[in-house]
């Protein structure tokens, strides 16, 4: 019940926030904040009251109502450790995005916050739906408010970026829809039962060739969202053109739905086919790591740099998921969180810089440390987190992924490890070009732009406010916590990952499943 309540709260809250802005200016963001906090408390309260003893057995909560009985479609929501931690990330990032962009949205605020909450409602649905039709429903529905966020409040090239984003994700998900329906038909022919239920479909017997094709449909939809090379072209544009809050949601949460889909659906539904496809997927992941890093290095637009670094980071996720052992898989999950936190913070910082300097071009920055010490310190912190400094979350994640995948397929792991050198390069270059060096180009730049809001070239930009500072500090601490003590996170998602790996040919899964608790701590410095 709580899951449905959560979705309804967010969806209805969006509508109410939109209407409230008409009555009283400035009320929408307060209302949105209140709703997000209420939703988080609701989730945490319910889970802490729940007896943790049998959490390993299956779903923590379930709600199943008949929706379209003609096709055996149920409004079926359920939650386990993986869903719960991703939900928590979703809500936390929702609050973070709201706080750091508190004053940045000035135009049509009511509709903005309505869309903001609707995206979160859709994502909540994606993370909890265990009926394939319902999952697809939320998968599509979350895109529409995101599309509007980019297209209405984005930067200069917003319309093209929004259309590109939507066509990439929609076209690939149509392939998934075909796969879903084909899977249901096969299930119907063998058992005589029409159902879209996840549990029922898990047991479907499919001949290997068909399974391979169906698996590809799912894989495409999820890797476009992830994104992995060669399905990434939508991401740099969408991230760069989206408003700051939109970029945060995209990077921190929306990309995670792709990885979640791979772990929850592709692997368990088609274990043999995934196994056969693993070399290709791991190669794609490894190439993404290097490719994202190389392209990030070549950018002068700071936001684009962060966007390309996302491709690189998500390459590790793909590599880890398809290594088919518990270590790499847990590394992939930790990477989801570490990347979510660090990239969201970097997008927030770029947004804050753009709000102050009216440019994202690093050629026009430089020497920012002096006027903006707090902001610059945070840029430095999250940049080194992004390059995988030991002690922070990203290091644990990438280390685990490399460790797990090396045993499975060494060449891909080696290539991906090379990508980490690239990460060091682009992160340090970004810090070097924006924070240090001579400050002069920026002043000229802003004088040329002549933006009246900045108060001319002479007025120094304002440093972080207490609100922004606290929000960023919370993220930094969370990242540090994951880096020093990843075990609680890994424990909570372990049962779900074991289920994902359970159907694999026994020799591979059995070895790795036992090792995870001991090696999890190995990531600690």
């Amino acid at each position: 019940m709580i899951l449905a309540l959560l979705i309804v709260l967010l969806a209805a809250g969006g509508m109410i926030a939109g209407l409230c802005e008409r009555v009283r200016k400035g009320s929408a963001r307060w209302l949105a904040l209140a709703i997000l906090v209420a939703a988080s408390l609701l989730l945490l309260g319910e889970v802490s009251a729940f007896p943790a003893s049998d959490s390993g057995a299956g779903w923590w909560y379930e709600l199943s109502l008949p929706w379209i009985p003609r096709f055996g479609i149920h409004f079926h929501l359920a939650m386990d450790g993986l869903s719960f931690s991703l939900l928590l990330l979703t809500l936390a990032m929702g609050i973070f995005g709201l706080l750091v962009t508190w004053n940045q949205v000035s135009d049509r605020r009511g509709f903005f916050y309505a869309n903001y909450l609707w995206v979160l409602a859709g994502i909540t649905g994606v993370f909890t739906a265990v009926d394939l039709f319902l999952f697809f429903f939320f998968w599509e529905v979350m895109l529409i408010p995101m599309l509007l966020l980019i297209a209405i409040w984005g930067y200069e090239g917003r319309t093209a970026a929004a259309i590109k984003f939507f066509i990439f994700t929609q076209a690939s998900s149509l392939l998934m829809l075909v796969s879903i329906i084909a899977l249901v038909f096969i299930h119907f022919r063998t058992t005589g039962e029409v159902t879209f239920g996840y549990q029922a479909l898990l047991s479907t017997r499919i001949d290997p060739e068909t399974a391979y094709w169906l698996m590809l449909g799912f894989f495409l939809a999820f890797t476009v969202k992830l994104p992995s090379i060669p399905f990434h072209p939508w991401l740099p544009d969408a991230h760069t053109q989206a408003p700051t809050a939109g970029s945060i949601l995209l990077a921190a949460v929306l990309l995670k739905t792709g990885a979640y889909g791979l772990m929850r659906f592709t692997l368990p539904l088609f274990p043999e086919a995934s196994q056969a496809f693993a070399p290709v997927a791991m190669t794609l992941g490894a190439i993404s790591v290097v490719y994202g890093a190389v392209l990030a290095f070549a950018q002068s637009d700071m936001k684009r740099l962060v966007a390309y670094s996302s491709i690189s980071h998500m390459g590790f996720v793909l590599l880890g998921v398809y290594a088919f052992n518990a270590i790499a898989m847990q590394g992939a999950v930790v990477q989801l969180f570490a990347h979510g936190l660090s990239t969201a913070a970097l997008f927030a910082l770029v947004g804050a810089l753009q709000h102050r300097l009216h440019t994202r071009d690093m050629n026009r920055m430089g020497g920012l440390w002096e006027p903006l010490p707090k902001l610059s310190a945070f840029v430095l912190f999250f940049a080194v987190a992004s390059l995988g400094l030991p002690g922070l979350g990203n290091f644990v994640a990438e280390f685990l992924v490399l460790l797990g995948s090396f045993g499975r397929s060494a060449p891909q792991a080696i290539i991906a490890a090379l990508g980490m050198i690239g990460a060091a390069l682009y992160a340090l270059v970004m810090v070097q070009r924006s924070l240090f060096g001579p400050p002069s180009p920026r002043q000229e730049g802003s004088a040329h732009v002549g933006s009246p809001a900045a108060g001319g070239a002479s007025a120094p930009p304002v440093d972080l406010s207490a609100r922004e500072w606290l929000a960023l500090l919370a993220l930094a601490l969370a990242l540090l916590f994951i880096g020093l003590r990843p075990q609680p996170l890994m424990d909570s998602v372990a049962p779900a990952l074991e289920k994902a790996l359970a159907d694999l040919p026994p020799a591979e899964a059995a070895v790795s499943a036992r090792q995870s608790p001991g090696l999890g701590g190995g990531g600690k410095p």
């Binding site: 929706w67 379209i68 009985p69 003609r70 096709f71 135009d107 049509r108 697809f136 429903f137 599509e140 529905v141 529409i144 599309l147 509007l148 297209a151 209405i152 319309t159 929004a162 259309i163 939507f166 066509i167 929609q170 076209a171 149509l174 392939l175 829809l177 075909v178 329906i181 084909a182 038909f185």
Partner: protein
């Protein structure tokens, strides 16, 4: 003809009687409002009659054969109800259209004729839905066509219409007349060939003859091809689509809505019946022709729509693609194909009506506002006129956005469930080629739907402030849009009741 047969065709009789009454009324009492009132009453009575007959059917009597010409079953009655409801919407749009153009009332304006022609068109469409004989099939098809010619050219009748509306309307009417006459002749020739091959005109008798050697004969195959070509013209499937964009663009927008929904729904209805009753659906020639038509329409319609700026032309090409999607469901024989086709048809009608209703109401507002806001004489159907519509008229913009999302097949809307049905039908029949065409077509379609959708939300458009608001949009027009949007969302989120109805038709 027994009482039971007369009772079965009650909807058609109601319509016929209503048309006579309306003509008499207009002869004695000229009033736009009264004519509209009578039309609506007739339509509502006919809808009630359909439901009454449908309630009587079912317990033991699945269908009533009223003479050799008409077969009344639940599917036909459901389609009649649907057509009549679409007729109600067109009548409401027509009122707004005629009102906004009758700036100077004069004796030479005859707006009442619009409603008589509308009812005639609906009578033809409903008859088509019930036809079970090639004679009634052809007569009904011609009745629809004959009433559409004057409707398409309606701006030529009065002097309230601006010159820039008369010329396209003339073009539209002439084009439709010529091409429609040509394909009618082809269809008639096809019917003659089928008769030559089988010796029968009743669908059921054709089915019996097809079992024998007649099916393989060249005569039969040529006949079927010609009949299908005539239907493809009415459905504007590629390559018989040439007339569509020009006719849609030039016609008064309510009539465009009529031709896009009622005329096509009637054609789908008779095609469904033709394929099942006469056993043609299982012939290779039919399925291969339909496959080619479907794939060509999906790809052609979507590709051509990419280049359109005029909203009516864009919707014209998109309707070509949508009928292509629908044809996929016709390829599946058996109950599921019929169910899928009907659901998609309902989705198509609701969405298309809503889209054209918005275009029509926006254009009506622009015509009324011509002195104050639209002095530049901007074409109210151009894509640029719609920029920022959501901000200056939230209701119109919001409803139009919902319609576009439904056309694109995004969840929460009825269009998604329709597309789901098409995919399910294609997968059941294992028509992988056709399915890949549907996927490619949908991806192409997204591009132009989204471009228009995002234009609605464009916030920095200079004209946004200069343009009028929704003040001028009539209350009944707004209400109609609201009803259509609510239907679209309700059937998109809770499709089960409608699915139950459709499913019951075939069990």
């Amino acid at each position: 003809m027994t009482i039971m047969e007369l009772h079965a065709i009650l909807p058609l009789l109601t319509l016929t009687g209503g048309i006579v009454c309306l003509m008499l009324q207009v002869a004695f009492f000229r009033s736009h409002g009264a004519a509209l009132g009578t039309t609506l009453v007739v339509l509502l009575l006919a809808i009630c009659a359909s439901l009454l007959v449908a309630a009587g059917l079912g317990n033991g009597i699945p269908s009533v054969q009223a003479t050799a010409l008409l077969l009344v079953d639940r599917q036909a009655l459901l389609l009649c109800t649907l057509l009549l409801l679409a007729g109600v919407a067109v009548a409401i749009l027509g009122r707004s259209y005629l009102r906004s153009r009758a700036i100077i009332p004069s004796a030479t304006d005859h707006p009442e004729a619009f409603y008589i022609l509308l009812l005639l068109c609906l009578l033809g469409a409903c008859t088509l839905a019930c036809a079970s004989h090639f004679a009634s099939f052809f007569l009904a098809l011609e009745l629809v066509g004959l009433s559409l010619y004057p409707l398409l050219g309606f701006p030529l009748t009065g002097n309230g219409f601006a010159a820039q509306e008369r010329e396209p309307a003339m073009e539209s009417a002439i084009k439709y007349l010529l091409l429609s006459a040509l394909t009618s002749a082809l269809g008639l020739f096809g019917i003659a060939l089928v008769y030559g091959a089988t010796g029968a005109l009743e669908f059921a008798a054709v089915a019996a003859a097809i079992e024998g050697p007649a099916a393989a004969s060249g005569l039969m195959q040529a006949g079927v091809t010609l009949v299908l070509a005539a239907m493809a013209f009415k459905l504007s499937l590629v390559p018989f689509h040439i007339w569509t964009p020009d006719v849609y663009q030039g016609a008064p927008t309510p009539v465009t809505a009529l031709i896009a929904t009622v005329s096509k729904a009637a054609a789908v209805a008779i095609l469904l019946r033709l394929l099942t009753l006469s056993g043609l659906g299982e012939e290779t020639i039919t399925t291969s022709l339909l496959t080619v038509l479907a794939v060509a329409s999906i790809l052609g319609g979507n590709l051509l729509a990419l280049m359109q700026d005029d909203v009516k032309r864009l919707l014209a090409y998109s309707s070509i693609a949508h009928i292509g999607y629908l044809a996929v469901a016709l390829l599946i024989d058996g109950a599921f194909g019929g169910e899928a086709a009907l659901y998609y048809l309902i989705a198509y009608i609701v969405t298309t009506l809503g889209a054209f209703a918005t275009v029509s109401l926006v254009a009506d507002e622009a015509v009324t506002d011509v002195d104050r806001h639209n002095a530049a004489g901007m074409d109210p159907c151009a894509g640029t006129y719609f920029a920022g519509l959501f901000w200056r008229a939230p209701l119109l913009g919001g409803c139009f956005a919902a319609m576009l999302l439904s056309l694109a097949g995004i969840p929460l809307t009825i269009g998604f469930i329709g597309k789901f049905y098409i995919f399910a039908a294609g997968i059941e029949g294992e028509l992988w080629l056709v399915i890949s065409a549907v996927i490619v077509g949908s991806a192409l379609g997204l591009f132009y739907y989204l471009r228009l959708l995002l234009a609605l939300f464009r916030r920095d458009h200079q004209r946004a402030a200069a343009n009028g608001t929704a003040r001028q949009v009539s209350l009944d027009g707004q209400l109609l849009l609201l009803v259509l949007s609510v239907t679209l969302l309700a059937l998109g989120v809770f499709p089960q009741p409608l699915i139950n109805w459709l499913h019951a038709l075939y069990t």
